[in-house]
């Protein structure tokens, strides 16, 4: 059907553009891989045939199926590739979108799911089995703009950003924007806002942030993969938004940080919860998860982080796993792979434009992986 084909094309494009970036960085990654020989810290100090990760683990399944978010698809395929080289385990990950990932794990059609937004209480209740959220890496969303005549990097307050997208500020020279940008002459021109027309984890992080900083946004629009936008135009995918912003004078949109970096798009500094203007970078994104209290189930939004150095529009991307996996061989393979990803695998993150998990979050992810059971017993070897 036409609809399906178009959808796949959109996804393909997104994945392809990321893969291109990935291959450009492959050499660096290769050198990195040679330098740091696999010394995965195992779950226990005792000697174990399964750790460090090298070769097949006794009784391990050789194939796993997963589906979900497109945002982490590049690092997931890198991990899958590296892990396959190390162990021979074949993991099939389909980047069908976060919604599809949640649907798949709820319907038990996959071994694991993946999502950029945590499942809601209702979704967890609807699932046929208890599901765990394991943070894997972090990403961020940046406001990108096109204001002819302005050459310095703009600074935006949470108030200004939410008002722009709510449509309560309509001109670039509104005092909400100008006060934070002393010395910059902003034009008396109407603002065109650009948002994602397709459902996306990027929109989820962005609207989640706006809901936290603006009560008006929260009550009128709310947060989600797709929302009822108060105005502006929609572009399909990061490339659609970036293209519309580039083409349309006096416009502002939002894209993934990695997309903005790869395409050399200008983006604004954001004022964080502590009042400091912060440039989005992999370091400031990682800071968003540092020194903050995480809910025990790790289903936590870290936008508008309290960390004074944090970039405020940052978020986790999660693997969704079953608390109890009756198939012992698969449980062993999945827990071992996830363990490797949140430990050894983290070194691939930065090269591919993702922020690695800060230490304290990584150890929380490890706890979650340890807690996965098969037939009531812990599935991860040595845990």
């Amino acid at each position: 059907m036409l609809v399906t084909r178009d959808r796949e094309m959109g996804e393909m494009k997104q994945v392809m553009s990321r893969l291109l970036a990935a291959s450009a960085l492959a050499l660096a990654a290769f050198i990195g891989a040679c330098g740091g020989a696999t010394t995965t810290p195992g779950p226990s100090a005792a000697a174990d045939p399964c750790f460090p990760v090298k070769g097949q683990c006794p009784g391990e399944a050789t194939a796993l199926n997963g589906a979900g978010a497109t945002f982490p698809a590049v690092i997931y395929s890198k991990w899958i590739d590296e892990y396959n080289r190390l162990t021979g385990v074949q993991i099939n990950y389909q980047s069908i979108g976060s919604g599809g990932g949640i649907k798949s794990i709820t319907d038990k059609t996959v071994d694991f799911g993946a999502s950029d937004g945590p499942m809601s209480d209702q979704q967890l209740a609807d699932a046929k089995a208890p599901i765990l959220h394991v943070p894997m890496v972090m990403g961020a969303v940046v406001p990108t703009y096109n204001v002819p005549g302005v050459t310095t990097q703009l600074k935006l307050t949470p108030d200004a950003l939410s008002a722009i997208f709510l449509g309560t500020i309509t001109k670039w020279n509104d005092s909400k924007i100008t006060t934070a940008n002393a010395g910059v002459t902003l034009p008396d021109q109407p603002i065109t806002t650009v948002h994602r027309s397709d459902g996306s984890g990027t929109t989820n992080i962005f609207t989640d942030y706006l809901s936290k900083v603006s009560p008006d946004w929260k009550s009128k629009v709310g947060a989600g993969n797709s929302v009822n936008w108060p105005g502006g135009v929609g572009g399909k995918g990061n490339e659609g938004v970036a293209g519309s912003v580039k083409q349309t004078p006096y416009s502002i949109g939002y894209v993934e940080l990695i997309y903005a970096i790869q395409n050399k798009l200008g983006y604004a500094q954001m004022q964080n919860a502590k009042g400091k203007f912060v440039d989005a970078s992999l370091d400031s994104v990682a800071k968003a998860a540092e020194g903050i209290t995480l809910a025990p189930d790790l289903r936590v939004s870290i936008t508008n982080s309290d960390n004074a150095e944090a970039y405020p529009i940052s978020g986790f991307t999660w693997i969704l796993a079953y608390q109890e996996m009756p198939d012992k061989a698969k449980a062993l393979a999945l827990t071992r792979y996830l363990w490797w990803s949140v430990t050894d695998g983290q070194r691939f993150a930065k090269e591919l434009g993702y922020a690695p998990l800060p230490k304290d979050v990584a150890s929380k992810s490890q706890e979650k992986i340890r807690s996965i059971t098969s037939g009531g017993a812990r599935a991860l070897p040595g845990s």
Binding site: M9, I96, G99, S226, G235, Q247
Partner: protein, 311 residues
Amino acid sequence: MIRSADRIFAGSVAGLALLVPATLLLITALLLIDAFPAIRAYGLSFLTTTTWDPVKLVFGAGAYVYGTLVTTAIAVTFAAPVAIGAAIFLTEYAPRATRAPLAFLIEVLAYIPSIVYGLWGFFVVVPLMRSAIEPALQAALGGVPILGVLVSGPVVGLDLLMGGVILAIMILPILLTVTREVLLAVPPSQREGMLGLGATRWETVTRVVLPYARVGIVGAIILGVARAFGETMAVTLVVGNSSTAISPSLFTPGYTMASAIANQFTEADSDLYFSAIVEIAVVLLLVAIVVNAAARLLIRRTGAAREGLLL
């Protein structure tokens, strides 16, 4: 021996022929099942209310229906006169040797993939619309009653007018091809009789050829409408994808039903949301069936079918 082989062959080709309608029935049935929660929740108001809010789970496809109707109307308004004029030229005026190559060139438009139209529209036509055409329209028509409303508001370039223009180019080939076939199906004796009476070529075309072919041309236009309704990728890239408010201005970013499905299908994470998107698909499918059937009926009535026109 021969007889039973014959019967087996007849039976198997009949089975193959039945596969097609069976697929259609199956698709319709599956879509209806998936759309049922939304149909039950909203009934007919689904098509008339305009709030589409995936967060609060309120779904009304009115803005999508409006966008689809408006872009299609614009497309037909632009494409039909061009197609009919070109078809008259190709059948009545063009030198015989140039008819086939010219017709072929126009039909080539139909073979260009939808996404290519979309990218060309996005990177070439949209900047032109925003910087030149739409401001000019606004300057020329701004003060005129009724027409002024159509061109009011800020100029972005990604809007209903742009969506309609892309569709006009895309439906041109089918409109032209069918209109040309319909005109060719007008019996030569009709023209000869008229010319024999001393009529000019203009009189022949307006008094005989066009009246004879009228119903068939309407059929061609309806086929164009059907194509415009379901077109997805190109429109999605240029129409603006915004369903906020229905406004009479053609310069407002809009949304079509097919674009809404393409954009939102992947991340529809709640059952009702998914179901609402499937309901849009059901509406599109039903409209497509009705419109195509009507068009074929009309074209057949001009006798084109008897002249060997295969549609």
